[in-house]
Amino acid sequence: MTDKKWVAEVNEKNQETKALSTKIPHQETQAPERRKFLKQAAALSTAVVSASAIAAENLPPNVPDWQKTLGSPVNTNPYGLPSKYEADVVRRRVPWLTADSIASVGFTPLAEINGIITPNGLAFERDHAGVPAIDPNQHRLMIHGLVKNPIILTMQDIKRFPTVSRIHFIECPANSAMEWKGPQVGRLQFTHGMTSCCEWTGVPLKYLLDEAGVKPEGKWLYAEGADAASMSRSIPMHKALDDTLVVFGQNGEALRPEQGYPLRLLTPGWEGNTSIKWLRRLEVTSEPSYQREETSKYTDLLNPKDPDKSNLIGKAYMFSWIMEAKSVITFPCPEKPLKKQGKYVMNGLAWTGSGKIKYVDISLDGGINWKQAELNGLVLDKCWTRFSLEFDWKGEELLIQSRATGEDGYVQPTYAQLRKARGVTSIYHNNAIHTWKINKSGEVESVQI
C-alpha cells in the first residue's frame, strides 16, 4: 500500500469518527436531549452492559486493543488534531445572544483548559462582521495622519523589526454580561468563556510609530481592521507607546484567522476589542475618533443603587479600557462535578489588566470566611494566573467563590458592590466574585448570593 492510500484511508476513517463524535450524547447536550438519552440508555440497558464489557477488555489484566495493532503512520494528520475522545472540547456559541452567527461570539471551554495557555483552536472568538480570508501577500499596514512619514508596510517589512513574545490574556468586556441582572447561564463556558490567554509574538508598536515619526500633536491612535466591519477603536498614545504590540504570532504559529490573521493589535490588559484584529491601518490623530464601538457599544450605562451616586443615573462611562481583576474556579464547576467524597484540589484562573495577580482567596461558605489559595506556576503581568486550594469534601453543600487581588491592591468586588456602583444595565465589565453551589450529589450549579 502506498503512503497516499494510507493517508486517504485514514482520512476517511477520521471523517467517519468525526461524524460519529458529533452524535455522541454528552453532558453538554441540552437538558431534554440529556433526559432523552438517559431514557434511551435505560431502554437499551443490554447494549450498555455489552458496551462496558467491551471497555473492560482493555483494562488490566487484559492487554488493550491499541497495543495489539499498529497505530496510524507518522504524519497522518500533517498539522495535527486532538484525540477523537476530546471532541467535546470546542468553542460554543449561545445562539439567542446575537442576531446572527456572523457578528457573534464563540466561548472558550475554560473547564478543559490546562495551565495558563489557551490552545489557538479554543481561544474565544468575537467577530463583528465575520472572519475575513486575508491573503498575507496582499495585506498592508498603513500608518498615516499626524506623522512625518506616512508609510505602508508589508508583512515581510513588519517581521523584520525587532520582535518580542509576551503571554497575555485577552478578555471581551462583555464577558459575564449575561449575569448582571441575575444568574442566567449555568456553565463556566458561558459565564466566563470570553477570555483566553496566549503567547503573542510581534513588534512593539513604538518601533512602527517611530518609523513613521509621530508629530507632537499626535495624542491618539485610530486603529482599523480589514474585516467587513472595518472594526475600529481609538487608543491613547500613552498606551500605544507603552506595551502595545502589533502581533503576527500566537502560541508559536501564525495568528489564526479568527484571531486576526495575518496581523492584529494587542493592547495588554485592555478591553479585547481594542486589540484590533486584521489590522490594516493606524492613523495618528489629536482627538479620539468616537467610533461606533466606543460610543454606541462598549460604554457602560450607569444606574447606581448607591444613593450618593444618583447624579450618575443615566450617564455612561466612556473609554473604560482596563479589564479589572477577576477570577473564577474552573474545578469544580458545572462541567466538572465532584464524583465522590474525599480530598480534592480545586483550582481556577485569575487575571487583571492592571498588572500581576497578588493574592487569590477562596471561600467555601459563600464569602463568610476565606482562605488564601496558592498561586501556581508563572505569575505574569496582565496574564492568566493559576491558583489552587486543597479541600476535603464530605458530601455537604458548599458555596464556593474565588476573589482576586491585584498587585495594585484592587480587590475583586462582590455583586452587591458592583450593583451599588453601577446598577445592572452596564452590559460590560462585570468582574464580580462568582459563586458555584456544590450540591450533595456533587453536581455544581451556577448561582448568585
Partner: protein, 318 residues
C-alpha cells in the same frame, strides 16, 4: 562591629535584590533602538485617500449631501429588513430609533441612535464602513448622508424631511445624549480583603441560574429536528445556510427569497435547478435584488453552495 553588621545587611539586601531579580518572571527588554529601520514604502496621498474612511466629529466629513426624504426609500430597501421600517429592530438586530428618556430605566434602557449616541459623525462613519451588513462600503456618500438623515429623522433629531444634511450643516445637529458620557470612574468599588466572619450567614440568599446548565448552546448539526432535513446532505446544507445564507434568506434582505416563501422560490425554479445553482455560485443581479457570488463566502465549494440551495428549497416539493 556596628560597621560589620551594616555591611552584612547590605550584602544580604544585595543578595535579596539579585535573587529576586533572577527569580522574577519579568521579560527581558530588547536593546535595539527604534527609528533606524527604513522599512516599508511611502504612502501616497491617493493610497491614503482610498483607505481613510474614518469620520469623527470635526474630521474627514465626506462630500455629498442628502435629506431624510431621500433616505426613506434607501432605508426601506437596504436597512429595514433588519432594523425595521421605523428603526424598531427585527429580531436581535439593533434598534435604531426611540428609547428617548429610557436611559434611567433600571431594567430595560433602550440605547438607540437618538437616545444614546453622542455624535452624528459616528452614524455617518458606521453606516458607510459597515452597512448594509452584507455589503459594507457599498453606499455612495450621497446615500450615506441621506440614510443618516433619515435615521436622525426617525429619532426627531432632524425634524424637517427636506433638511439638507452635509458637511456644511453637520454642526447644526446636536445629539440629545451628547452630554451623557463621563470618563471612566473605575475603580468604583472598594472591596476589602477580609478573611474571617466577613458577613452574616443569614444574609446569604441563593438565586439559581435562570437557564441552568442547558442554557441553549448550539450544535446546529445536532439539534436538527426536521424530518425532511434528516439526511446528511441537508445537514451540511443547513449548516452552510445557517452560517452564510440565513442573514439574507431568513429576512428577505436585498430581495433574497425567504427560505419559506414557496411562491417566490417557485418563480426562480421555473428556469430549472441549473439556473438557480449558477446564480448562487456565480452571483446574479436581477430586478428584485442581488445575489453575491457564493453568498459572499468565496471559500465555499460549489457542492457546498448547492447543498445550501437544496436545503432552502427542500420543502417545495411537498
Amino acid at each position: 562591629m556596628f560597621k560589620y553588621s551594616k555591611t552584612i545587611k547590605s550584602i544580604v539586601a544585595l543578595i535579596l535584590v539579585v535573587s529576586f531579580h533572577v527569580s522574577a518572571t519579568d521579560y527581558q527588554e530588547i536593546s535595539i533602538k527604534s527609528g533606524e529601520f527604513n522599512r516599508g514604502k511611502k504612502a501616497s496621498k491617493e493610497e491614503i485617500r482610498g483607505w481613510h474612511i474614518d469620520i469623527s466629529p470635526g474630521h474627514n466629513l465626506p462630500a455629498g449631501k442628502g435629506t431624510a426624504a431621500d433616505g426613506e426609500q434607501l432605508f426601506d430597501d437596504q436597512c429595514a429588513s433588519c432594523h425595521g421600517s421605523f428603526g424598531e429592530g427585527v429580531g436581535r438586530n439593533p434598534v435604531l430609533a426611540g428609547g428617548e428618556g429610557t436611559l434611567k430605566d433600571t431594567s430595560r434602557p433602550e440605547r438607540t441612535v437618538g437616545s444614546y449616541w453622542p455624535y452624528a459623525s459616528t452614524l455617518l462613519d458606521y453606516t458607510h464602513r459597515a452597512m448594509p451588513f452584507n455589503a459594507p462600503q457599498s453606499l455612495n456618500w450621497d446615500d450615506t448622508w441621506s440614510i443618516a438623515a433619515y435615521v436622525l429623522y426617525l429619532n426627531d433629531v432632524i425634524t424637517d424631511e427636506d433638511f439638507v444634511f452635509n458637511a456644511d450643516s453637520f454642526a447644526e445637529i446636536i445629539m440629545p445624549n451628547a452630554d451623557g458620557f463621563i470618563s471612566d470612574q473605575r475603580p468604583d468599588t472598594n472591596n476589602k480583603r477580609c478573611m474571617k466572619d466577613c458577613k452574616k450567614p443569614a444574609s446569604i440568599h441563593i438565586i439559581p441560574a435562570l437557564l441552568g446548565y442547558a442554557s441553549g448552546a448550539e450544535d446546529s448539526i445536532n439539534d436538527d429536528k426536521s424530518t425532511s432535513a434528516d439526511n446528511t446532505e441537508h445537514k451540511i446544507g443547513k449548516q452552510i445556510y445557517n452560517t452564510h445564507c440565513k442573514l439574507c434568506h431568513a429576512n428577505g434582505v436585498a430581495g433574497a427569497p425567504k427560505i419559506d416563501d414557496k411562491a417566490t422560490w417557485g418563480e426562480r425554479l421555473k428556469s430549472g435547478m441549473d439556473g438557480v445553482y449558477a446564480h448562487a455560485i456565480n452571483g446574479f443581479t436581477g430586478k428584485f435584488g442581488v445575489m453575491p457570488a457564493k453568498g459572499g463566502a468565496p471559500d465555499l465549494t460549489e457542492a457546498e453552495v448547492k447543498a445550501a440551495v437544496d436545503y432552502m428549497i427542500k420543502d417545495l416539493e411537498q
